[in-house]
């Protein structure tokens, strides 16, 4: 099991790959290697490089349905100016921050809490884990449709509880533009918290058992040990869970379409939905690509930061 996906980068790099050591004549096997990885070359260069550049260039044009590259189609940064004065986009950006922060904080907190409780030598651990994780097997469309039904004002929880005699009970977040986003957060957490729990539980169990003994000898209460000693020690698990969350948040699309379709009004619009709408129904590719570029920006900044940190760390190691 441990050998599954665990090879660290340095492990792979330290061992010189057989086909790449030093200068050597071009061999048939190298050609075969290139032939065998043609799809990868096409994808890496064609999709994750050329397509991104293509989208970026389109964001400076006034393309409507089809890409337009004529001299008079280039409008400079007009699309960006228009984007940032479009109410729908501003709402989307606000929403993704709000939704993202709330989802991630709630998800990480709940995930760690569940993991800590799961770590108490409980009976039926496998059963509980299956229950917490099964929603993740289902698509976000299904998650969205189920929660929309549960939160339905006329037939869902609200109607049921009112039927029990609590006439004033109100719990139908999706029909109110101020609260709809909370409904999305609940559904998103239901779907994804099990994964966070599984990662955190693995992190907890990776912490050296000696730490627990030492904490016990020092008389530190269990909850304090979990919060102040163990938690800071599992940075890897926290980072993994966090990155998964971030990627999920930026991509949130299915959930919106299934649950609120961006409504009521435009109150749950998100950037991912905005882009798709503009390259399909609204046929305004230039604006859509400007929005897509804005979506890519935080990813590039974060990855750049990580590469920089890694590079710094490597240099320190070399100098030492």
């Amino acid at each position: 099991m441990a050998q599954l996906a665990t090879a660290k980068e340095d492990g792979a790099a330290a061992r010189p790959a057989a086909g790449s050591s030093g200068r050597k004549p071009f061999r048939l096997s190298t050609l075969m290697s290139i032939v065998g990885t043609m799809p990868m070359i096409a994808t890496a260069v064609g999709v994750f490089f050329i397509c991104i550049i293509y989208s970026f260039v389109l964001s400076f044009t006034n393309s409507r349905i089809f890409p337009a590259f004529g001299a008079d189609n280039f409008v400079g940064t007009d699309q960006y100016a228009r984007l940032w004065s479009t109410g729908r986009w501003l709402v989307s950006v606000n929403n993704i921050w709000f939704f993202g922060l709330l989802s991630i904080v709630a998800n990480m907190t709940a995930g760690y809490l569940l993991a800590v409780f799961m770590d108490q030598r409980i009976k039926q651990e496998d059963l509980f884990r299956s229950i917490f994780l099964y929603p993740f097997a289902m698509s976000l469309v299904i998650t969205g449709l189920v929660w929309r039904w549960i939160l339905d004002p006329n037939y869902g929880i609200q109607a049921t509880v009112r039927g029990w005699g609590f006439e004033d009970f109100a719990f139908a977040p999706l029909v109110n533009s101020g609260t709809a986003i909370y409904g999305l957060v609940v559904a998103g957490i239901w779907n994804g918290v099990g994964v966070t729990m599984a990662i955190m539980l693995a992190g907890l169990r990776g912490v050296d058992g000696e730490i627990w003994k030492a904490a016990k000898i020092d008389g530190i209460p269990t909850w304090k040990t979990y919060l102040f000693i163990v938690l800071p020690m599992m940075k890897g698990a926290l980072l993994t869970a966090f990155i998964l969350q971030c990627v999920g948040v930026v991509r949130v699309y299915d959930l919106i379409v299934a649950m609120t379709q961006g409504g009521p009004g435009i109150s749950t619009q998100m950037p991912a939905v905005f882009v798709i709408q503009h390259i399909t129904d609204r046929s305004n590719v230039g604006l859509g690509m400007a929005a897509a570029t804005m979506m890519l920006l935080p990813v590039i900044v974060l990855l750049g930061l990580q590469v920089f940190v890694q590079w710094r760390a490597n240099r320190v190691k070399e100098n030492a």
Partner: protein, 308 residues
């Protein structure tokens, strides 16, 4: 490379099986009771939607009008299930989920196979036959795992349209292959790179070439990682909605898209029981994969959840 460690949490995940390390339980104390109460309440929260789905799908519409969303049906009916499968309408078509199911089966089978073969080759070449620039390609690919789909969807639409594959079966397979490639390649590369190098060297000494070593030595060794990849791809492709909407076209519309269309159709009476039956039917395949594969599934998502 950056991200690799973050993407490969299974080193930690494997420890799940080592057993708990927390404070040792004594006899049944108040705090033990508290632990179980918390876990059971949490479990109820997670099970509630499943319960509501099943219960709603077995009720008749008049019973749903009684507004007891949690109650077991007084009279069980399988009518909604038949209707969801066979005759539910999306717009003017009234063929139920059947066609979507068949499309999803086709897309999932072919998409999984193609994407895994390609990714295995990539991982193999990246581990043993690195050519000049291979690292840069791999870096681009890993970067691709983090790129929001929306950034590349439009150029892909244009590109596929140019070669006449937009809205066709090969088109949607290509799309799933592309977007599955970063994480699958990473999986296979890490797996092959962790194999003992003597294995490869011995085969080289014997004069085996690129393809021979791949098919005769590496493929048989790669069974466990292939299982993880299959779980990842089957659930990922089956659950896909965005690519199905954009690229599959009407002829190949996958089940998730059809489900959404059935539920969102605004004409006629909204049949909530049919909607929930359709939802369960669509969830059935990934759920089956989940319960059959058990711990493998956890490994798969831990390794690949970054795919989103």
């Amino acid at each position: 490379m950056m991200t690799t460690e973050a993407l490969a949490p299974s080193a930690g995940t494997s420890r799940i099986e080592d057993g708990p390390r927390g404070a040792k339980p004594r006899t049944l104390t108040l705090s033990r009771v508290g632990v179980y109460v918390f876990l059971i309440l949490a479990a109820l929260f997670f099970l509630m939607p499943l319960w509501v789905m099943v219960v709603t799908s077995l009720k008749s519409m008049p019973e749903i009008q009684l507004r007891h969303i949690f109650q077991w049906p007084q009279q069980i009916t399988f009518e909604p299930w038949l209707k969801a499968w066979d005759t539910a309408c999306t717009g003017r078509d009234c063929n139920g989920l059947k066609p979507g199911f068949l499309n999803s089966v086709k897309i999932t089978l072919v998409g999984t196979t193609v994407s895994i073969i390609i990714a295995a080759l990539n991982g193999y070449a990246l581990s043993f036959w690195k050519y000049k620039g291979a690292n840069i390609l791999f870096g681009l690919l890993v970067f691709g795992a983090f790129v929001p789909y929306q950034v590349v969807i439009y150029p892909l639409i244009i590109g596929l349209r140019e070669i006449g594959l937009f809205g066709t079966f090969p088109g949607i397979i290509i799309i799933h292959t592309i977007f599955g490639m970063p994480i699958l390649t990473l999986l296979f590369r890490n797996f092959f790179a962790a194999l003992p190098p003597e294995l490869f060297k011995a085969a080289r000494v014997d004069g085996a070439g690129f393809w021979q070593i791949f098919f005769q030595i590496m493929v048989p060794m790669a069974v466990p990682i292939t299982i993880v990849a299959v779980i990842l791809q089957v659930t990922g492709i089956w659950n896909d909605f965005l690519f199905g909407t954009v690229f599959a076209g009407r002829e190949n519309m996958p089940m998730t898209v059809q489900l959404n269309n059935i539920v969102q159709t605004t004409t006629g009476v909204r049949e909530y029981n049919v909607h929930m039956a359709a939802t369960i039917l669509t969830a059935a395949v990934p759920l089956a994969v989940y319960f059959i594969s058990g711990k493998w599934f956890v490994r798969g998502i831990a390794a690949g959840a970054v795919k989103g």
